[in-house]
Amino acid sequence: MDADVDPTVAGPPSPGLSVVGSRPPRVDASDKVVGRARYAMDVSLPGMLVGKVLRSPHAHARIVSIDTRPAEALPGVFAVVTAADLPPIDPEDKRASGEQTFQDRTFASRKVLYVGHPVAAVAARTEAIADEALSRIVVQYEVLPAVTDVMEAVREDAPILHEGLRPRSLAGQDDSPTNVASYFEQVKGDPAAGFAEADVIVERVFRTKMVHQGYLEPHVSTATWNDRGDLTIYATTQGSFAVRDHVVRLLRLPMSRVRVIPMEVGGAFGGKNSSYVDGTAALLARKARRPVKVAMSRFETFQATGPSSGTVIRVKMGATRDGRITAAEATLTYEAGAYPGSPVGSGAHVMFSPYVIPNGRIEGYDVVVNRPAVDSYRAPGATPACFAAEQVVNELADRLGVDPIDFRLRNSASEGSEALDGTVQGSIGAVEVLEAAKAHPHYTAPLGGANRGRGVAHAFWGNWGARSSVTITVNPDGTVALLTGSVDVTGTRTSIAMQAAEVLGLPLERVKATVGDTDAIGYSDVSAGSRTTVATGHAAVKAAKDVIAKMCARAADIWGVPVDGIAFRDGVFRTTGDIARAFTFVELAGLLPDTGNVVIGVGNVDVGDWGASFGTHIADVEVDPETGKVTLLRYTVVQDVGKAIHPVEVEGQLQGGATQGIGWALYEGYDYDSNGQMLNPTLLDYKLPTMMDVPAIETVLVEVPYPGHPFGARGVGETPIMPPPAAIAEAIYQAVGARVCDLPMTPARILESLGII
């Protein structure tokens, strides 16, 4: 636990909460239903130009030359930029290689590594002129063989993306170039002995495709400079400070010169932790000396923003006849895309962690391929790993003839138990979640028809804490202005304001929550890792307590009593001594202007202690044995959410997360041809679940409060994406006997598994 977090506010939530746990309308809703909410796509500045990016048509090629002069000569074009416009890199600098890679992600300098890799950009008066200008830039390429398949990329004769790449953990042992960016191995106990002890062993290989977060608002950024050299960026991002730091590094600017204004975010899911066009807009705007807006199309968003890794995962698990898991083994091979950095470590961390397994071994490979570099997607790396491990757990239970939830309970992690990768579980609700799923009417309801089946899957996700900043300013009318550095991607303005209101003893209407820009509020990490309601909630509680302390001091001043003679309870400041005096919050707020300076509460935290989350899903499907079409009949999400600060928003997270997992299970996946061209870069061909594809998703919020949070909250957003593929796969198996090991589980895959085609 970080020293900044007040330990006195920790502990189980007290009864008698008045705001936390209630269900108020979210504070951003009224602007969103009338079209008034301002997204980055809606930004318009006087004199603003249209910025557009020229992208590589090749999956792998050397850039021989770029001639931008024909574009520059076109009337209405104000700027053309390429890698040559980025700051020079000193080859003697030991960070040179890292900086080159960083710059190459914005504009390729020597090689393009995927179709859609940015090569140049233009700023023009209109979109039509910008398009014309792009078509006039002449790029000469020397096309190289490409590799987009992860298993082909690890072969010795595979085309090499990065000549300088050596596998990180094997450096020195083998000095030949490779596409394996890193490799790790974790061993616990004696795997061979563990498998020897098992009565049943299941081993399978699972394949999943690259998928996209599918946020409806593409990446877009508007940049404008003043003559002093101050840059302002209107961004769609999960972290305004992340954008600032990105642009500062790319253009080598002093941090104080860059102000990032986070706009409403049109969906993110991990895909807006990184910058794709903020630096481009800034560079164009500086050269054009005009504001520039760069908006990606859906096509560009698919081809050139970071999706989640496609994977190949081998899992082997063994159990005794009495239902005890004795050993587990996995090899995870994850696509990193064009640059190293797949979430293979995260997949390895979570896949066996719901269980206590005495022996095991996990290997992970991070492999570069000629596809866009991957980015985070809700529980990064975890969904494919959960799909693989949980299918094997289900198959073991099936082979042993035990109930799949009983089998999981028999092996469940609990507080203090050690996971296969050495993680020791803190206070968790794993058992409570499994028991709640087993007790849910869905689990025992009749399936009521032929070709129907039911499956369950279970998931662990660790969540996150990190840095958040909040200030609370008391207005003389007794309202307060709460400023947070955490971008609101899910409704966190509401859930953060609720926690402050609870501490201040105010109704929620008196707490106005605003997301501040980078000049207005202290550093806050990205809104990611299911951290915001938890960690920024810590910051809000700290700021609110600071407000109370300062107002107690003011009351003591006014009454002429020592400050330790003042108590704040139920929204009222009172003397604790013989002479009874009292101010309501509103009364004292009204006296502040005439009795001293403004009261501003500050809450800066670096949260190092947070609660993990477990979820169990139950899926019912019907499979048409002739067409292979899967219909979801019923779906239930059971999850340990700690204390639900805003239960309706929590339900929304569980429903939305599960729906993304359902899309991953049944519909979504990048398809490539042999030249590295994506075959389905539209929302027609890359199918997201529609309203017709999902049933009303039932949710059960199991509240096992986390003792390290003021109100017992746990992160809730990521866990629910993990179990759907395995739960649905098991339901399909129970329905028609097909064990599908590849995602998405399309009708064709199911017919293949049934041996029909």
């Binding site: 309308p25 979210r26 951003d28 809703a29 009224s30 602007d31 969103k32 239903v33 009338v34 079209g35 008034r36 909410a37 301002r38 997204y39 796509m41 809606d42 318009s44 209109t126 039509a128 977060q213 599918g214 946020y215 409806l216 608002e217 593409p218 409403e264 975010v265 049109g266 969906g267 993110a268 899911f269 908006a295 199309s297 859906r298 991607v489 899910t490 409704g491 309706v648 928003e649 339900e651 929304g652 429903q655 939305g656 997360g657 599960a658 729906t659 993304q660 539209t682 929302l683 027609l684 997201l688 529609t690 309203m691 017709m692 999902v694 009303a696 998703i697």
Partner: protein
């Protein structure tokens, strides 16, 4: 490049004239020329529904309509749903049921829902899901949207009943 075209239309009850380029979509003109940024661009090829508007009472993807085509037409965007009396019951219901998260699909979802209720005042859940299948939402999992449309339909139905009673006097 061809010259600009003058287009006259009624948008949210107001007579509007604007100049557009021949290739510009209705969505682009609403957003960039008329400042009506409620309709959103999610795909620009008619597959997400975030740009939904009513064109002479018909639900359309405004990204697939050329602005030059709307001469003399009546258009309703999300900005035209609320009246001086307050929010439309669908808007009230979306707030009350928490039928949105990021809100980017919400304008299109509301317009498509209005088009549904204008035709079918008491839709079943299946009819709602079928009608709104052209409007993608990546945040909510749709359940709360369905509930909001059902709640709005009920509200509108009871308003109509009260009106009928009042008429009978």
């Amino acid at each position: 490049m061809a010259g600009k075209l003058l287009v006259s239309a009624t948008i949210n009850g107001e007579a509007v004239e604007f100049l557009c380029e021949p290739q510009q979509s209705l969505l682009t003109c609403l957003r960039d020329i008329l400042g009506l940024t409620g309709a959103k661009e999610g795909c620009n090829d008619g597959n997400c529904g975030a740009c939904s508007v009513l064109l002479n009472g018909r639900l359309v993807n405004s990204c697939l309509v050329l602005a030059a085509e709307v001469e003399g037409c009546d258009i309703v965007t999300v900005e035209g749903l609320a009246s001086w009396q307050g929010l439309h019951p669908l808007q009230e219901a979306f707030i009350a049921e928490d039928a949105l998260q990021c809100g980017y699909c919400t304008p299109g979802m509301l317009i498509a829902s209005k088009a549904l209720l204008d035709r079918n005042p008491n839709p079943t859940e299946q009819e709602i899901r079928s009608w709104l299948a052209g409007n993608l939402c990546r945040c909510t999992g749709y359940d709360k949207i369905v509930r909001a449309v059902q709640a709005a339909a009920q509200h509108l139905e009871s308003s109509r009943r009260i009106e009928r009673v009042a008429e009978k006097g």
